[in-house]
């Protein structure tokens, strides 16, 4: 009888296991790429050389508006600050870093463009900046982007800014390649380029450092919608990021962070939640 009872118990156990298997198979039908939702740790790509936005400090820590936004969004996704790892990215490496999975998210003055959307997905934008131009203080000939014809313009690999000038606006500037905007500013100061044209937030950070040696022409000519890059196809991640950005504006954090990092500049700061790109 004992054998019989254990046999039956085994049969019941087997039936329960089989049922559980069937049910778990039924509920796992919704597949897709791994999402940033539910992760315990996050690797977030930020710039390492842009003061005010993403800058690596001598102690190895990162600081800036993008870094603070990243920490806020991570917190809304349930990831504690000490579980966030910042990974330096450049304009040229952002798509690859997302595609090969070396970062989960990119928050690095990353403008949403239709071309980039063919490779990665964007949450946000979390801010809309405007492209402007920086020249040496003594240079009064350049007063708008249209005065860049024939001038030497810094072209950062992977950046969209120089394309706006030479391709989209068809202005015949002479492109001088560079690896980063910090390199561009150095080249502007030592005369290797005549102008650096990129987002006003980026220029403001460098101008604050370079002091009276440079001048921002203050003739903005584009909308640069800073997106939060995530892997293509992560719909729930994209939706969660958008909700976090909405919250950031609603609870006043966005206004406080903009004030903290750009309050001392002459930039007009918009504190309304931007129109999202939408998740697809």
């Amino acid at each position: 009888m004992r054998e019989r009872a254990t046999g039956r118990r085994r049969a019941v156990a087997a039936a329960v296991v089989a049922l559980a298997l069937v049910l778990s198979l039924a509920s796992c039908s919704a597949g897709g790429p791994p999402s940033i939702v539910g992760k315990q740790t996050l690797r977030i790509g930020v710039k390492a050389d842009q003061p005010g936005l993403g800058l690596r400090l001598p102690d190895g820590k990162f600081a800036g508006f993008d870094v603070d936004v990243a920490l806020y969004i991570a917190a809304k996704l349930g990831v504690r600050p000490d579980h966030v790892t910042f990974v330096p990215v450049t304009s040229a490496t952002r798509e690859t870093a997302l595609e090969n999975g070396s970062v989960d998210m990119v928050i690095a003055t990353y403008s949403i463009t239709p071309e980039r959307e063919t490779k990665v997905a964007f949450g946000g934008p979390y801010y809309v900046a405007h492209q402007d131009t920086m020249v040496r203080a003594g240079d009064t000939a350049i007063r708008s982007v249209h005065d860049l014809g024939g001038k030497r313009l810094c072209a950062v690999a992977g950046s969209n800014s120089w394309k706006r000038v030479t391709q989209e606006l068809s202005i015949a500037a002479v492109l001088v390649p560079a690896a980063s905007y910090s390199a561009c500013v150095a080249m502007l100061l030592d005369g290797r380029v005549d102008a650096v044209s990129t987002d006003d937030l980026i220029l403001a950070g460098f101008a604050a450092r370079a002091g009276p040696a440079v001048r921002i022409v203050n003739a903005p000519f584009s909308y640069e919608r800073y997106g939060i890059g995530i892997r293509k196809g992560d719909l729930s991640g994209c939706e969660a990021v958008n909700r976090a950005v909405s919250q950031m504006y609603l609870d006043g954090t966005a206004a406080a962070l903009l004030q903290k990092w750009f309050g001392s500049t002459r930039l007009q700061l918009d504190t309304y939640v931007p129109q999202f790109e939408g998740c697809q």
Binding site: V22, S29, A30, Q167, E168, S170, Y223, E239, Q280
Partner: protein, 501 residues
């Protein structure tokens, strides 16, 4: 030690009872004989009672499982069909009305004193209609967002900002009338006030409206994923629970038949048949409802969302065209925004607007030659791949026409003919750019309406089937069937138990 067994049926229970382990095992409490005695399981009536209790428990289990599954269907239909789905449509209308208000103000300012062309009055009328539409859509969006404080705050902020926008817009129009300028960009003081108005519109009013549309889309997607899989696994549970009820009833029936001369217990037979029928139709209902949800989402809602977004972005790129003509100081900004938005709607790789016109025309030509070769991305790329047909073809043709008109207008501006460009843009007679834009918008609207038809049909079918199984709703039917089956079991068992008294 075993109690008297009233018959010689070789049931498992009897074997168990006959070979009850020694008392030492009773201390461990596994199947103790004393417990059997307390339950009365050693007698036939006791066993019948116990089996009947198992049947009733199985029926209760079936009821709970089926009720949860039907509840998931109801929730899915409510969120997708009655809350978030309509929210997407209402906020889409709101965006259109708001964006078109700003376009009309720009048209009025561009027309200047050449108002007599009739275009000015038309634009003013349309501005008023847009305003009324915006109010209606905002009201509807507010009703639909009841219970969601974040969404409600967004609708409220739009309505608050709208009053301020109207004040700035009328101020700009008054200044413009005083300036008495020919068609083309108005004087600086007018532009300065218009900039305030249009910035308010594009920074504070339009983004929350668009984000509400997106949020509605996200809610639908989440509800769909969760509810559809819940309905499908619910279907499995219902089938298993139905099977368990059937097995328990068959067991009871078999036991009674074996102990009495009667082959069939009519009450139990009716209960068995009824529950079998109920299980089969519940499984069918859940399959059908999962299919309705899927069709409503993939053939209706997904396209409604994509096309509502395409319509919103198209309106805003059209407004950028008018701002480009109106405000030369920001011409670059508005032209680049126009290109970005055009690319969002229909993407072909191109460095600038000139290249975009060419590549767009080639891509649409190739598509017409072979509709299966969709060589473009963006909203229309998605739509052309998901649901090709004459409705999409019409939208694509008219989008191309819109871009051709835009090219003409920008060429005039580039050649310094500001006045002609402004007159061309504000013209709404047949064949003019304004007319072409309205035709384009109409094509988008009818494409949305087509998908809306599918969506509404699926949701209605779901509601109907859920609301009326045979004569009553499914929730009522399940409750009635469960109680009825339990009563039948009690009646059937009682008739047998009486014989043992």
């Amino acid at each position: 030690m075993t109690g008297p067994v009233s018959d010689s049926g070789g049931s498992t229970l009897k074997v168990l009872a006959a070979t009850t382990p020694p008392p030492s095992r009773e201390l461990h409490g596994r199947w103790p004989a004393a417990r059997f005695r307390r339950l009365g399981l050693q007698t036939t009536p006791g066993r019948i009672r116990a089996l009947a209790a198992v049947v009733v428990l199985a029926i209760a289990g079936f009821y709970i499982v089926a009720n949860i599954a039907v509840g998931n269907v109801r929730d899915g239909l409510r969120v997708i069909g009655h809350d978030a789905g309509p929210q997407v449509l209402a906020t889409g209308d709101l965006y259109f009305a708001l964006s078109d208000m700003d376009s009309q103000v720009a048209s009025i300012l561009l027309t200047g004193r050449e108002y007599s062309a009739g275009t000015g009055q038309q634009a003013l009328n349309r501005y008023g209609q847009d305003r009324a539409r915006a109010d209606r859509a905002a009201l509807q969006a507010a009703e639909l967002s009841a219970g969601d404080p974040t969404d409600q705050a967004a609708v409220r902020s739009i309505l608050d900002g709208l009053g301020q926008y109207e004040r700035l817009a009328s101020q700009a129009m008054v200044l413009d009338a005083q300036a008495n300028h020919p068609a083309g960009p108005p004087p600086r003081n007018v532009i300065a006030v218009y900039r305030q108005a249009t910035d308010l519109m594009t920074l504070e009013l339009l983004p929350p409206a668009y984000n509400l549309t997106l949020e509605g889309g996200a809610t639908v997607r989440e509800a769909y994923v969760a509810k559809r899989s819940a309905v499908l696994s619910g279907r499995l549970w219902v089938a298993l629970a139905g099977l368990a009820v059937f097995a328990a009833l068959a067991g009871l029936q078999f036991f009674i038949a074996a102990r009495s001369r009667r082959r069939l217990n009519p009450a139990l037979a009716v209960a068995t048949l009824g529950l079998l029928l109920l299980t089969v139709s519940a499984v069918r209902l859940l399959s059908d409802q999962a299919a309705h949800l899927q069709a409503a989402k993939t053939s209706g809602f997904d396209s409604i969302l994509t096309m509502s977004r395409a319509r919103a972005i198209s309106n805003s790129l059209h407004a950028d065209e008018s701002r480009f003509l109106l405000d030369p100081g920001r011409a670059d900004m508005y032209e680049l925004a126009y290109l970005d938005k055009s690319q969002t709607v229909l993407y072909v790789a191109s460095g600038n607007l000139g290249e975009y016109y060419t590549k767009l025309s080639a891509a649409i030509k190739a598509y017409r030659a072979n509709p299966r070769a969709v060589r473009f991305l963006g909203f229309y790329g998605d739509e052309a791949r998901a649901d090709p047909g004459p409705a999409v073809d019409a939208v694509l043709s008219r989008f191309l026409q819109l871009q051709t008109d835009d090219q003409r207008i920008r060429q005039l501006m580039g050649a310094g003919h500001d006045r002609q460009a402004a007159l061309l843009f504000t013209d709404r007679t047949a064949g003019s750019p304004g007319y072409d834009f309205d035709q384009y918008d109409q094509a988008v609207v009818s494409l949305i309406a087509g998908h809306r038809g599918t969506f509404d049909q699926m949701i209605r079918a779901g509601d109907r089937e859920l609301g009326r199984s045979v004569f009553v709703s499914w929730s009522v039917l399940l409750a009635l069937a469960a109680v009825g089956a339990a009563v039948l079991v009690a009646v059937g068992v009682r008739a047998r138990l009486v014989e043992y008294r």
